[in-house]
């Protein structure tokens, strides 16, 4: 027997909501589809079997409130749970087509009976004290459990069995003593919009949700960016849980329409982001939040927030919502996903009109002054902006000017400085230093304030255009340790070439003098003494093999000015056969540190002398002797 406090907490209600969601999400929407596929049902057969589920769901959603066979809510709920659990276990059998129809219909019917009964009498199991919070908690836990990586990636048979067994556990929960009598007045104070408006809003949201779900499921790139991999699944689960709790809080504080509007904004943005697979990460954040926001409302509205005067009316409203908005909206969304493969922006706008316009009318009425002033200022600013001639349009700019603008637009200054501090270690790495007069000629100077990467004020003297372009396209592949994002999108139009031209132009009058200084640079004696053969090999594989390995050469072969030599073969144009071993190590160190001018060979200026000495030590003992120079 449960202690009194636990019994009064209403955990039974939260558990039943969670069980229902787990059953629907992981089994009815997911594992059962896989099961049908494994049974060989596809195309029209599959659609027909799923249609049987929708028919069962709609029929029993509408009939449940009118059924007089089991007047006791407990009995009715047990029947729903029993039917659902049995259907899940039956689906594990080797079903023929007719049996599949039957089981599918039973899933829908069981869900219809279960969901409508549960929400109609939910207070019976949640109690009245924290009913909204318990609905949020139950919904959030339901989604969270479904996204647990071991469960989400389990075989369909396991998911099906768990869903079925949970239904039987739910029957056990209904056998326990219910919480104390409800305190309905607490929630009844909330304002509720008209039922028709709520119904239409839910239909639009379910439609968007189902379409987005189907589209993600059918597109490997989108799927990879949303719910593949443990990190994604944990993140999704937590987002669902937090959003569900937030939804419960918002329903209490801001009301139903606020929550539905927020859910629409999240889902609408997710659908628009899914149009561009490169932005799927953002979609994977907005989508679960939107889904959980409205999913809590889907339970809370008919059970707690509706102004229905009797349980019968509440049940009929729930039936209409689940039959039309739930099953109907879901079918429409899946149809859209199947036939179009995306959610058209026009549909998102139309759905937004349905969900938001009534609220906008209210806002217009109550916030007329705010909207009018904002619109006025925005319009006046736009006119002013159009009137003031811009200094230089991109069509009039040179390639270097356009490239500089790309540098600014991408926020490069937040990782790269363009200022070599005189008389510091900067000079050896990235010099020579410019004069203040040179800096002031730039409009505006792009000095930067933080270095996450090297200084670029003389990058044109250190890197070839080809290297720059290759690095922009795939930084990590060109420079083993690079943390720079890929900017390959810039090369879909002319921006990338403009940027490369700009960077290649960044070198001052001191370049020749600088090259003389590089030729006179040597690793310190201490660095040579500390050099390690093993470190040299490791560093070579990280920084040099990107071009000097067979794979690296193949990847970029079309662009190299000169093919990077296989260091075990040669030839080596920049080593002399007459050099002693010490001289060769010195020369190799200079090349590793500063690269080779006028070639694609870059330097590694930022590496310590010890690392450079280690690379040169390893190279000197592994490359072919330069006797074969050509």
């Amino acid at each position: 027997m449960l202690p009194g406090r636990a019994r009064q907490s209403g955990w039974q209600g939260a558990s039943l909501v969670a069980i229902t969601y787990i059953y629907f999400l992981i089994f009815a929407q997911f594992a059962f589809l896989k099961r049908l596929a494994s049974l060989g049902w596809a195309d029209d057969h599959l659609k027909a079997v799923m249609a049987a589920m929708a028919i069962g769901g709609m029929l029993f959603s509408l009939l449940t409130a009118r059924l007089n066979l089991w007047p006791s809510p407990n009995l009715r709920l047990r029947a729903g749970l029993l039917a659902s659990g049995a259907a899940a276990l039956l689906s594990l059998l080797q079903l023929g087509l007719v049996a599949s129809f039957g089981v599918s219909f039973l899933i829908g019917a069981g869900l219809g009976l279960l969901t409508v009964t549960l929400v109609t009498h939910l207070r019976q199991w949640t109690g009245g004290r924290h009913a909204l919070l318990l609905v949020g908690l139950g919904t959030g836990i339901g989604y969270f459990v479904c996204n647990l990586p071991p469960f989400f990636t389990a075989p369909p048979e396991v998911q099906t069995s768990v869903a079925g067994l949970l239904c039987f556990a739910g029957i056990g929960i209904t056998l326990l003593p219910a919480p104390a009598k409800l305190e309905a007045a607490q929630i009844a104070q909330l304002r509720a919009p008209s039922f028709l408006r709520v119904l239409v809003c839910f239909a639009a949201l379910v439609w968007l949700d189902s379409a987005a779900f189907f589209i993600i499921q059918g597109n490997p790139a989108l799927k990879a960016g949303t719910w593949q991999g443990e990190v994604h699944l944990w993140a999704n689960g937590l987002l669902h849980l937090l959003a569900a709790l937030a939804s419960a809080w918002l329903l209490r504080r801001r009301g139903l329409i606020f929550v539905l509007s927020a859910a629409f904004l999240m889902l609408g943005i997710a659908c628009l982001l899914l149009l561009h697979p490169s932005r799927v990460l953002f979609a994977s954040i907005f989508y679960p939040i939107g889904v959980s926001l409205y999913s809590v409302a889907l339970v809370a509205y008919p059970s707690l927030l509706s102004p229905a005067s009797s349980a019968g009316q509440r049940g009929r409203q729930a039936g209409w919502i689940y039959a039309t908005a739930g099953w109907g909206g879901s079918a429409m969304g899946i149809g859209m996903g199947q036939n179009l493969g995306h959610v058209p922006p026009a549909f998102v706008i139309a759905a937004g009109a349905v969900v938001l316009i009534p609220g906008l009318f209210t806002a217009l009425r109550w916030r007329a002054r705010e909207l009018a002033l904002t619109a006025l200022v925005a319009l006046a600013s736009f006119c002013l902006y159009r009137l003031v001639p811009s200094a230089n349009t991109s069509a009039q700019q040179s390639q270097l000017e356009r490239g500089r603008q790309v540098y600014i637009s991408e926020g490069c200054i937040h990782c790269h400085s363009q200022y070599v501090r005189p008389n510091t270690a900067d000079v050896l790495m990235w010099g020579p230093a410019e004069t203040i007069q040179d800096v002031r000629l730039q409009k505006p100077p792009l000095i930067g304030n933080r270095r996450q990467g090297p200084d670029l004020s003389q990058v044109g003297a250190r890197r070839s255009s080809f290297w720059l372009k290759a690095h922009f396209i795939d930084p990590a592949e060109v420079s083993g340790a690079s943390i720079m994002p890929s900017f390959d999108f810039l090369f879909r139009d002319g921006r990338g070439d403009d940027l490369v031209a700009y960077l290649a132009s960044l070198h001052g009058a001191g370049t020749l003098k600088r090259q003389e200084e590089e030729a006179h640079w040597h690793p310190t004696a201490a660095a040579l003494a500390q050099a390690s053969f093993d470190d040299g090999e490791r560093l070579f594989r990280r920084y040099c093999a990107t071009c000097h390995s067979a794979g690296g050469r193949t990847r970029w072969q079309a662009g190299f000015k000169r093919f990077p030599p296989d260091l075990t073969v040669g030839p080596f144009l920049h080593l002399q056969p007459s050099e002693s071993n010490a001289e060769r190590m010195d020369r190799l160190a200079q090349i590793a540190k500063f690269g080779i001018p006028a070639t694609d060979m870059p330097g590694h200026e930022y590496l310590s002398d010890k690392d450079i000495a280690s690379i040169s030590l390893w190279l000197s003992q592994n490359i072919r002797q330069p006797i074969h120079n050509q």
Partner: protein, 449 residues
């Protein structure tokens, strides 16, 4: 100056509208939550750069612009807008109805700015990234605010707090200065103006830093006249502070505006003159009566101010600046300025303006969460900057130590975000409450007395 900008001498027929200040706090906190969320995103991207590929064109560099500008123009600027509402009487009588529209315009301009930065429009100047349409819209929002203040001042000509010529003239002078701000921001975002450069670092000169610091000192000294009442018998402390400010301003005016190095003695000695504010500021603030709710934030403000002055000077010294320039060490220092001092300062202002409603900032959990996270963040960045000063590859070629520090930095960022969400939720609650108290002026007067 007794009646100047003093809310306790209000004409009772024109009541406060507490929702104006509460609304200002709500907008400000909304931008804090958004900016901190973006901050967490960029901390994640620094730790897991591979995630950039999921962001399309909205890569790291564009998000940094959004983060920095929203912190400045949203979080830190809007509470001062609330201060202006209060000072010019916009939160009273019929003008109060126009405060929320002005806030909407401001937030709309910030939204437009955020989208323009994400879309790749920027001037390339830190904290002045306004470009294209947003470069016009944001100054327009400032101008609309100015119009509201002007009309409010005209309508309040006969109120008790404006009775003296000095009060009236001071407010007019303030308006004249404020009128220049939209035009200055528009011009400063242009390509042809750039402040003096320290040739040894590429950063600001000592003179520039002294100028901007004195502007902050001036705000610190002016602020109490707008929101607090002077204690009897503390006139000397107040007068001394203003005399020192004038003296330092003269010193600053005598310094060159050329591109000169921090190695020059005059540069770091003159910047060191700010150390005089270590004892002077607490004494000055002790000369005013403050609402009980603001005490923790006033203490925090004064500690952060002291930390900012000391570290600001130390980080400018020859040898120190040369070590830390372009490293995370200066990111840590800027955190003392923004997350430590400025945030404490504006929360202190908001608590004073909200009075009894200031409870939203005084939950112990969010107070300690914020300050603890900020301190942790600063320590982490200082350690990283210390290492980086010796070896630039510490950041450029990430290793285990750098990644551990950045992971802890991400954690502290998440904690700061949680604290800001806590404040924001409470501010939302405050807005939904029935009017705080329609005659809260009376309540405040009683409580303060």
């Amino acid at each position: 100056m007794e009646g100047f900008m003093n809310p306790y001498t209000l004409d009772e027929s024109e009541r406060y509208t507490p929702r104006v200040i509460a609304g200002t706090a709500w907008h400000s906190l909304l931008w804090l939550v958004i900016a901190n969320s973006v901050g967490v995103l960029i901390a994640i991207l620094l730790l897991f750069p591979g995630l950039n590929k999921f962001l399309g064109e909205w890569t790291y560099g564009r998000w940094v612009m959004v983060h920095m500008n929203l912190e400045l123009y949203g979080w830190t600027a809007l509470p001062l807008v609330g201060f202006l509402f209060k000072t010019y009487g916009s939160d009273r009588g019929p003008m109060a109805d126009w405060c929320r529209p002005v806030l909407w315009v401001w937030s709309t301009a910030l939204t437009a700015g955020a989208f323009s930065w994400l879309s790749g429009h920027s001037s390339g100047k830190l904290f002045l990234d306004w470009s294209g349409y947003a470069r016009v819209l944001f100054p327009a929002a400032l101008f609309v605010l100015w119009l509201l203040l002007l009309v409010s001042l005209i309508r309040s000509r006969n109120r008790a707090e404006n009775a003296s010529l000095a009060a009236w003239a001071t407010k007019l002078l303030g308006l004249a200065i404020l009128l220049a701000v939209p035009f200055l921001i528009y011009a400063a975002a242009g390509l042809n103006r750039y402040p003096p450069v320290n040739p040894d670092t590429g950063g600001p000169t000592g003179t520039s830093q002294l100028e901007s610091s004195l502007a902050i000192v001036a705000i610190l000294l002016m602020l109490p006249f707008g929101i607090a009442r002077r204690k009897a018998g503390h006139s000397k402390a107040i007068a001394a502070a203003w005399v020192v400010l004038v003296a330092e301003s003269l010193l600053c005016a005598s310094l060159t505006r050329a591109d000169i190095s921090h190695h020059l003695v005059t540069q770091y000695v003159s910047l060191g003159s700010l150390l005089v504010w270590l004892p002077l500021t607490p004494v000055y603030y002790g000369a005013f009566q403050w609402h009980n709710n603001s005490r923790p934030w006033r203490i925090a403000l004064l500690w952060w101010w002291a930390a900012l002055i000391v570290t600001g000077w130390v980080f400018f010294l020859p040898g120190v600046l040369d070590h830390f320039k372009f490293t995370d060490g200066l990111v840590g220092h800027s955190f003392i300025a923004m997350a430590g001092f400025t945030s404490s300062f504006i929360i202190f202002v908001m608590v004073e303006l909200l009075g009894d409603g200031g409870w939203i900032f005084n939950r112990a959990r969010s107070f300690y969460l914020w300050h603890g996270s900020v301190i942790a963040y600063i320590l982490l960045m200082t350690i990283a900057g210390w290492r980086e000063g010796f070896d630039p590859t510490f950041t450029i070629v990430p290793g285990l130590a750098r990644n551990c520090i950045y992971a802890l930095r991400l954690l502290s960022g998440v904690l700061m975000l949680i604290a800001s969400i806590d404040w924001f939720l409470d501010a939302s609650t405050l807005l939904l409450e029935p009017v705080l108290s329609s005659n809260s002026a009376q309540t405040r007067r009683e409580k303060t007395a």
